[in-house]
């Protein structure tokens, strides 16, 4: 770039405090502890006061749904940016988890306290089992095949009239009150978010990232990549099933609308907006996108037009994603240097 003073380029340098807090010396001063803790606390406290701050009955329902989309976005980001599997099967995970929780609740009479963990783990096992045949696929082929799963499942339920058919399963128990519902959901969301952040930097997480970077080299290292891909799909689909189970207990109903493609597509949009590969970005993306989508309901059928415009603006002006941008500003300073 040429300015008045001649050719210059922008240089980015890590802040000293960022470099220092990279090691164990971070505990040496309050300033550095604060540097590390404040962003995390903002997120945690922010999420925890959100249910208190929202008084409107309609918006209280919305933030529960946002939490579910945040889980799905997290699951999408993990599988895409840390394992290299771009899965469009989000709706399938939600459907499997949802139907499982509904069946466990209505047929066996289990309370949400048991159905939700059982649906998350059992649903993850089912999803992983069904996705096993497509694990050798890479890139867009994996995406296309996973997209088929929710579509096929919905049509099968419709055509064979199983699992309640088009009526779905009604009479699912709800949560005792909205505090239990929202705080358990947000608590799990935070737990999974920080858990995943640890996981991807552990040795096993590096194997996942290795599969994304270069699966041939992982094979040549004597590691069975199918095992690890299956493990990653289990983790990711478990989050989706957890979201599905929550959704069913919130709506007190399970039906084929839980296999709707929204659950596959909106997580992608929130990952794009929030910044892929940051894990926390997609969560924030969901917290921005879903409420925007609700606000735009006032525009009636034009809603989707405005929604698309907002998405396009994000992609054009902040294509790296909000969190990538924010992290850069937080950790680095920029200056112009003469070339």
């Amino acid at each position: 770039m040429t300015l008045k003073g001649g050719d210059v380029r922008q240089e980015r340098i890590d802040r000293g405090i960022k470099v220092r807090t990279g090691g164990i010396y971070a505990v040496s001063s309050w300033k550095e502890i604060g540097y590390l803790l404040i962003p995390r606390l903002v997120l945690i406290v922010g999420l925890l006061i959100l249910p208190l701050a929202v008084t409107n009955l309609y918006w209280q329902r919305v933030i529960s749904i946002v939490g579910i989309y945040a889980l799905l976005s997290l699951s999408f980001d993990f599988l895409t940016h840390f394992v290299g599997l771009v899965s469009l099967g989000g709706a399938f995970y939600v459907g499997v988890g949802g139907y499982m929780a509904a069946i466990l609740n209505t047929k066996l009479g289990l309370s949400p306290l048991f159905t939700i963990p059982m649906a998350a783990l059992g649903g993850a096992a089912i999803c992983t089992l069904f996705l096993l045949p497509c694990l050798p696929l890479r890139g867009v082929y994996f995406s296309i095949v996973t997209l088929m799963y929710p579509l096929i499942t919905a049509r099968i339920i419709e055509a064979l009239n199983i699992l309640g058919g088009t009526d779905g399963i009604v009479g699912v128990a709800s949560f005792p009150n909205r505090w239990v519902e929202q705080y358990s959901l947000f608590g799990l969301l935070l737990l999974i978010l920080f858990g995943l952040r640890r996981l991807v930097n552990k040795d096993i997480g590096l194997v996942f990232r290795g599969i994304k970077d270069n699966d041939q080299a992982v094979k040549a290292s004597g590691i069975n990549i199918t095992h690890y891909k299956a493990a990653a799909v289990f983790i990711s689909s478990g989050m989706g099933c957890l979201g599905g189970a929550y959704l069913v207990h919130i709506y007190m109903w399970s039906g084929i609308s839980q296999l709707a493609l929204d659950f596959s597509i909106i997580p992608i949009a929130s990952t794009v907006i929030g910044g892929g590969g940051t894990l926390v970005g997609p969560v924030l993306g969901a917290f921005i996108l879903v409420p925007i989508s609700e606000l735009l309901r006032a525009f009636g059928t034009l809603r989707i037009v405005f929604y698309s415009l907002i998405l396009m603006a994000f992609i054009i002006f902040r294509s790296e994603g909000l969190m990538v941008y924010a992290q850069r500003k937080y950790h680095q300073f920029e200056r112009w240097v003469k070339v």
Partner: protein, 259 residues
């Protein structure tokens, strides 16, 4: 040199569609030797390695490792047995720092079984092992090079990283696919002692090379491929005297044929 066979390739053939990449190639690899595989471009050298290490399924023929048939096994099982390979086009994990690249092989079942290190403790034992291996292979321990992203490393270091990935597995056999190509003369000069040391440590090496002069300094025997067929094998000096080899590399020696 012992003459015990560690790896035996028996009449391997591989066709990609109508192209016969390998036809009836057989050779034996002796324990502890360095075997060079040479041949003009497209003669099937890399395909041969791919067939041995399971990255490509053979059309016919068998591969035996220590008298055990390993034909058609998946790559990770063959690597688990100790037959490792480098890639001609380097395949590091570009988004990871150089030393973190070695965490992945160190995490493999083989490294955990035979590595002799416990790995993965709270103080990051694996990280230490990574730096140790990188130092052994020629990364300067106290410099910043091992901590650089693999995407920022020059070719010479990437080639070493490929070898380091094999070493992390405590291999018995390393199949090197052109580790010298793309390196300067001085870089190769520093690689050769490394190769010799690996041999002294008891690792058997197969080296595909185009840099014949450097290869012949280390290789005990050479196999020559041309158009997927084995032309000859023997000690380097004898092989280079072979008329068929000269012809494969240089075309016909006698220009009067063309005049």
């Amino acid at each position: 040199m012992t003459s015990e066979t560690i790896l035996e390739v028996k009449e391997i053939s591989k066709a990609f569609g109508g192209i016969q990449a390998l036809s009836n190639v057989s050779f034996r690899l002796h324990q502890g030797e360095i075997l060079g595989i040479i041949g003009p471009n497209g003669s099937g050298k890399t395909t041969l390695i791919n067939c041995i290490t399971g990255f490509v399924h053979t059309s016919s023929g068998k591969v035996f490792f220590k008298q055990k048939d390993i034909t058609g096994q998946p790559p990770h099982k063959i690597a688990h047995l100790g037959v490792t390979r480098t890639f001609q086009v380097m395949r590091p994990y570009y988004s990871l720092p150089a030393y973190k690249n070695l965490i992945i092989p160190l995490f493999s079942p083989r490294a955990r079984k035979y590595g002799g290190w416990r790995g993965g403790g709270k103080l990051g034992d694996r990280n230490t092992v990574c730096i140790d291996i990188l130092e052994e292979i020629g990364f300067e321990r106290d410099s910043f090079v091992p901590y650089k992203l693999a995407s920022a490393l020059p070719t010479g270091y990437l080639k070493r990283l490929e070898l380091a990935r094999c070493l992390a597995l405590k291999p018995e056999v390393i199949l090197c696919d052109e580790v010298f190509s793309g390196l300067s003369a001085s870089e190769i000069a520093s690689m050769i002692p490394l190769i010799e040391r690996l041999q002294m440590e008891g690792i058997t090496l197969v080296m595909i090379e185009h840099r014949l002069k450097e290869l012949f300094r280390v290789a005990d025997r050479v196999v020559v491929l041309n158009f997927g067929q084995k032309l000859t094998e023997g000690i380097p000096e004898a092989v280079m005297e072979d008329e068929r080899v000269k012809e494969a590399y240089l075309g016909s020696e006698d220009l009067s044929d063309y005049v």
